[in-house]
Symmetry: C2
Subunit: 113 residues, 2 copies
Amino acid sequence: MTPRACPPTPTVDPLSDPDEELARLAAALGHPARVRILRFLLEQRECFAGAIVDHLPLAQSTVSQHLKVLREAGLIRGKVDGLHICYCADEVRLARVRELAEAMLPTTVGGHS
Amino acid sequence: MTPRACPPTPTVDPLSDPDEELARLAAALGHPARVRILRFLLEQRECFAGAIVDHLPLAQSTVSQHLKVLREAGLIRGKVDGLHICYCADEVRLARVRELAEAMLPTTVGGHS
DNA sequence: GACGTATATCGTAGATGAGCGATAAACCAT
DNA sequence: ATGGTTTATCGCTCATCTACGATATACGTC
């Protein structure tokens, strides 16, 4: 019974170089805590930052730092909701990750004979 | 007329934690030079390390370092061929990246109405 | 064996990242 | 305005990453 999905605010500077773009996205995913945050957000659909802090064995400031990295990569979005900040995964952006990963692999592994 | 595909030697310690696994793979992809190397290898199907060095604006030792990171992540494999070392992308491992990325997204973004 | 070639590793300097506690900023309630 | 709550930012330390030149290792040739 979550109130609402976060509003669309995907503002990431559009990289001209696709290698750069993939590298940046991958780097943002390159830490287990950030993967956990992302997975948690996808499970919960959305939640306050405090819930994420409670969910991880890290200090509040550290989690906030990881959230910043994910935010700057465009993978999550935050919306102020009174005292809290409501975070949610940016599924459009995640789809882009998938798209880039799929573009790297011309065909599925299929026949390796 | 490439001599042969590299032999299968995918020896990466099997991580129990899928978050860790994804984070490690993403971290290996988290540098533009490494993305370029990987894309180059997929285009060329396989090539000697020297060709990769020539293809990038980096010192030989730096490229060798990046190759090591990719190797340790299991994303590429190297086979000694006389004086050279023949590198190729490990498509099984790359498929795993895709698999993990897809598992993160329960459904495609599809309907955003 | 001596020499040239190809690749990896070492050593180092500078940049970036991870983690924390402390503090600031923004908000709500009283 | 004061005080409590939530999140972001600062300052710091320690570790890791990136890049390079120099050197080591392994191979093929002579």
